[in-house]
């Protein structure tokens, strides 16, 4: 040991040092390379959304646009109806989040805090929903909605989306409610609050962070949902972004610019939410995995 240090007194620490830095450099390089693999396709999408076919088919597939053609965006929004799809997506998603939040808060509160015999049974029943794949319900829902003449309405999407938001929401909210102390409710009770006042004035504000997590989770599923949206809606006026953009791309298979613009428009809200709330988004999806 000692002789070792004696014979190469300077070489040893130095070589160890450089080995470590090379390793670290390689690691950084690999991480950066993977980051490029994950985002470069999206960057490329952004670039071609500003080009026209002459430019793309003329050979400038990878480079920056020669002219930034904002007109692709205006034509996607107007002639391509992306604006209409966008508004439909907002209506369906907002209604789903709003409705499901109210139902989830009320039901989770009743299950965790109120006194009745069947609360655990109902909790188990709702959590079964976590296991059900939407494929198994697609055709029966289609038949039900058809018989009720509800196909091609906003409700044909909102109601199923709300239903599928329930199991995960109840899972998250009941867990959260279990950890809240009862003192506030007791104080309000002594002050003579009604149960509805306690729920509205005390519980809803307390639940806000958990509801935000659930809302983000619901947003992701609703904004991006394809199978129901594609089956229950075929009226051009009611299509959501996912379906609308797919049919847009089907009609103009060769018009890369406006299609690209449509794809970018569909992505912007999600990316904005992600940039602003990335920790919250990641947290809500981690929570969502606990069910496995």
């Amino acid at each position: 040991m000692e002789s070792n240090v004696m014979t190469v007194p300077q070489m040893n620490p130095k070589s160890k040092f450089s080995f470590k830095t090379t390793g670290k450099a390689l690691l950084s390089l690999a991480l950066a390379a993977y980051a490029i693999i994950q985002v470069y396709p999206l960057f490329w999408l952004l670039l071609f959304s500003f080009k026209d076919n002459n430019e793309i088919f003329g050979g400038n597939v990878l480079g920056l646009p020669e002219v930034w053609r904002w007109s692709n965006y205006t034509s996607a929004l107007t002639t391509g109806d992306v604006g209409v799809y966008f508004i439909n997506s907002i209506i369906v998603t907002a209604a789903t989040i709003l409705l499901s939040s109210v139902m989830l808060a009320a039901t989770s509160y009743a299950i965790v805090r109120m006194y009745w015999k069947l609360n655990n049974l109902f909790l188990t029943y709702f959590l079964i929903g976590l296991m059900v794949p939407i494929h198994a319900t697609l055709l029966p829902l289609f038949v039900i909605l058809r018989n009720m003449h509800m196909l091609n309405t906003y409700w044909s999407l909102i109601i199923p989306y709300v239903a599928f938001a329930l199991p995960m929401g109840i899972f998250i909210l009941t867990g959260f409610l279990n950890s809240i102390p009862r003192e506030l409710e007791e104080a309000a009770c002594i002050d003579g609050c009604s149960i509805y006042k306690i729920f509205g004035k005390i519980i809803i504000p307390l639940l806000r962070p958990a509801l935000a997590t659930v809302a983000i989770f619901t947003y992701m599923n609703t904004w991006n949902e394809l199978m129901f949206a594609n089956t229950f809606i075929n009226s051009e006026k009611l299509k959501t972004l996912t379906v609308g953009i797919m049919s847009l791309a089907g009609q103009h298979t060769t018009d890369w610019g406006p299609i690209g613009a449509g794809l970018v428009i569909a992505t912007i809200p999600t990316l904005l939410i992600y940039v602003l709330l990335s920790d919250q988004v990641q947290k809500s999806l981690i929570v969502g995995s606990v069910k496995g």
């Binding site: 009745w116 494929h135 319900t137 829902l141 995995s289």
Partner: protein
Amino acid sequence: MQNLLGDKKAIFLFVFPTFLVFTVIIILPIFFSGYYSLLEWDGFSNGKFIGLGNYVDLFVNNTDGFTKGVKNSIVLAIVSVGIQLPISLLLALILARGVKFEKLYRTVYFIPVIISTVVIGQLWMKIYHPNYGMLNIILNKIGLGFLANEWIGNTQTALGAVFVALLWQYVGYHMLLMYASAKSISTEIYEAAKIDGANEPTLALKITIPLMKPILRVCVVFSVIGSFKAFDLIYVLTNGGPLHATEVPTTIMYTSIFAKYQYGYGSAMAIFIIVECLVATVIIQRMFGKDPVN
């Protein structure tokens, strides 16, 4: 307090709407699906009860490539567990042990997960475009032009091409789950092991990975079930084509029901997919055994 929280009217008001929507939209349809699967039914005239006939057709008189679809989804499950999860794990382990720009990388790797599958499908369609797609152009630029291909138009490469896009989309998701789990391991354990002379790979193999067992199991379950249920991206990218090369059970189910009006037959596929997922979940849970006691 007792009276207030035992208010039966309030409980009913709080629970009943949720119960109703949940039951009508999620629970009852499963039973309907099970019933439809026993019928020969085009959705308009009255269905004819044929017992398990549809299930026999799925595998015996196989004409629409259902067995091929099942095979494809199993291959996808194997690829997901064998390639995607190791990549995710590696990235998670590196990030969790702390590197420069840790948070930036974590955020960037996760981006494809949040983007709509329709957008990702359309994007990869363009990436794979034989003449103007990014992939072939880059191959040409770096002198590998001989590898250029029609990718999703060629029956030989279509399945692989679809799988690459699918894996790309979800690496970040598994990475994030594993990262969160690895981060939650107390640093004291590492300190102790380091004093005993363990290096980074040993730490990962002997401490981090064993303690991550619960989340690894979740990831395996999600990968396998996700593969059995895969629909959106394949539907957008190839819709099962060319010549059924990329067919999976859900795409065949969708075509059977909404293009061929074989409601009973399609429902049998839906039931098959549910059972397949349940069986896979149970088997994987068993394989992983009990959680380590923390």
